[in-house]
């Protein structure tokens, strides 16, 4: 398997010698497979932006090393294949939308003859065609974000870093951006997204990592995060009797009783089997047995609180 990003034991301390030294990343390691959408989550100040900045040569790590697209990050030439949408970006405001794309295409070393065709495509993709001749300084926040995304894609990069891409974008725009990211993935691109909008990351990411205080707390596929093995919802084919209820309540961790259903937290599969046996003994059929998913948001809050 080829990795698009490989991070080994990165540590970053801002102002290391002064008394207001900040450890933004501490001994952080991570790999991102090629062709995947990876979501990095974490509360404000967790170190998400710092990680991207190190990978792109904007800040320098104190120790550790990293590779992007199999090149050491100190090799600036690999950045011809990288797209980046920074948080709080500030584009030269004398440019209009179209010129802005030309400007960054040049800086990215994109010299194809089809640049104007590419610009048309991207402006259409981010729905900014109407504003192509308008100066960037007149753009709204959401418009800036859209043109920013087009900017990150103009040179047809293989690996794209997006720092809070939907910041300031309305719900419809967010959906559009999500769709763009999914279609990019289908073209084989790797996408690395920083966000604190968990519900959104959940919708598109293949894998997510949670970062807090510069440390990796948990990393895995979205399913691993959101599927809680222990909690099941049990739906029955008829109402159950009070006898059974007391029986269940004594031995198991049952909650959310309804007429024909309940939820139960189990240690393992055998415990679950025991419960189903018990139900059968009481002549109750199981209509539905559901492994409950919690939202990434719940997990996130739990994990951060635990730390």
């Amino acid at each position: 398997m080829i990795n698009a990003i490989e991070v080994n034991n990165l540590t970053k301390i801002y102002n290391p010698k002064s008394k207001n030294a900040v450890t933004a990343l501490s001994d952080f390691s991570l790999t991102v497979e090629i062709g995947k959408i990876f979501g990095l989550l974490g509360p404000n100040g967790a170190g998400k932006t710092t990680l991207i900045k190190i990978l792109l040569g904007i800040v320098f790590q104190n120790s550790g090393n990293a590779k992007i697209l199999e090149e050491d990050i100190s090799n600036y030439k690999v950045r011809t294949r990288i797209g980046y949408l920074p948080e709080n970006h500030k584009f030269p405001n004398y440019l209009n939308g179209e010129d802005l794309l030309k400007y960054y295409a040049k800086l990215s070393g994109y010299n194809e003859n089809d640049l104007s065709k590419r610009i048309d495509e991207l402006l259409a993709l981010v729905k900014m065609n109407k504003w192509r001749k308008t100066k960037v300084k007149k753009y709204s926040k959401g418009m800036l974000q859209r043109i920013g995304l087009a900017q990150a894609l103009i040179h047809n990069p293989d690996l794209i870093f997006l720092d809070e891409p939907t910041d300031g974008v309305d719900p419809i725009g967010r959906k559009e951006i999500r769709d763009i990211l999914i279609s990019l993935k289908n073209e084989g691109k790797t996408i690395f997204v920083n966000s604190h909008l968990l519900s959104e990351v959940e919708l598109i990411s293949d894998r997510v990592a949670i970062l807090n205080n510069g440390k990796l707390i948990k990393e895995g596929s979205v399913e691993e995060f959101t599927t809680q093995k222990e909690v099941y919802e049990v739906k029955l084919n008829k109402e159950f009797d009070s006898d059974l209820i007391t029986n269940l309540l004594i031995s198991y961790e049952i909650f959310e009783f309804k007429k024909e259903s309940f939820k139960v937290k189990v240690k393992d599969e055998t415990e679950l089997d025991k419960i189903t046996d018990l139900l059968r003994q009481h002549d109750l059929g199981i209509r539905n047995l559901n492994n409950i998913k919690t939202s990434l948001e719940d997990i996130f809050i739990n994990l951060i609180n635990k730390n």
Partner: protein, 273 residues
């Protein structure tokens, strides 16, 4: 090389887009218009120049007058040119370093060294273009009016651009360290208007302090600071046909330029943004 060229072009484009470049060109045009009006309204014969009654046979009055005019305008031109040029470029680096802009710039496949060199060359090309416009036009006007087509006047373009380049290298360094265009401008004007003229006449201060240590210190400062005042005199001397007697002011200023660019690159290459 290609990358430096891209960074240079984008710098030129940036100065064009910001109004300051237009200001530079506008003031130049105004100066040209003033001279144009002067030349049209005054005929060569009424120029109150020395030697009108001591007519030496065979001597071309026109060329004498034009020489006097050149001497008369070349110093103010030097001051004005450099003043405007510094004003035009002092914000290039702080603007580049603005949060949200620099991040994106550094994420591009251009090294930090190439970025700095692009900013340096871009600024110099813009100033060279402007000075060429101003000085070449003046040379044309003088030629048409007085029939004096002596090319040495055009050397002013090269030398003023050189002096600018030296100060610009320092403006870049100050910009990288302090992120301030005002500070860069202030120090440049301090050198141009005060330090360099004073240090050019430093012998006067030797007497004032009467101390070897002070003398040593003043000398050190003299050789370190760009010699804008002496180079201004060199331009005048070239224009009266004397040529350059002493290259030291030019060479030591050039060393200052190299030092400032090298330091800019080293410091810029290590900073977090």
């Amino acid at each position: 090389m290609n990358n430096i060229w891209v960074a240079t072009l984008l710098t030129i484009r940036e100065t064009f887009s910001r109004k300051i470049f237009i200001l530079f060109a506008g003031v130049s045009t105004l100066v040209l218009l003033l001279f144009g009006i002067l030349f049209i309204s005054v005929s060569a014969e009424n120029f109150p120049v020395v030697g009108t009654d001591i007519q030496i046979s065979g001597m071309d009055i026109g060329s004498e007058i034009s020489k006097a005019i050149k001497l008369f305008i070349v110093n103010p031109l030097y001051g004005l040119g450099i003043f405007l040029a510094i004003f035009s470029v002092s914000s290039i680096i702080p603007q580049m370093l603005e949060k949200g802009n620099i991040d994106l710039l550094l994420s591009k496949p251009i090294s930090r060294t190439q970025l700095i060199l692009g900013k340096f060359f871009g600024g110099n090309i813009v100033v060279l273009a402007n000075l060429t416009y101003l000085i070449f036009s003046l040379w044309l006007m003088i030629g048409i009016k007085f029939g004096d087509w002596d090319l040495t006047f055009l050397w002013s373009i090269v030398i003023i651009t050189f002096v600018f380049a030296v100060l610009y290298a320092m403006i870049i360094l100050i910009g990288i360290i302090s992120n301030s265009s005002i500070l860069a401008m202030m120090i440049s004007y301090l050198i141009l208007l005060i330090l360099s003229p004073i240090l050019a006449n430093r012998e006067f201060f030797y007497q004032l302090f009467e101390s070897k240590i002070a003398e040593f210190f003043i000398d050190g400062l003299y050789y370190f600071i760009p010699k804008t005042a002496e180079i201004s005199n060199i331009i005048s001397e070239i224009n009266v046909g004397m040529g350059i007697e002493d290259f030291q002011p030019i060479l030591s200023s050039f060393a200052f330029l190299i030092l400032n660019i090298a330091l800019s690159i080293i410091i810029f290459s290590k900073k977090d943004y």
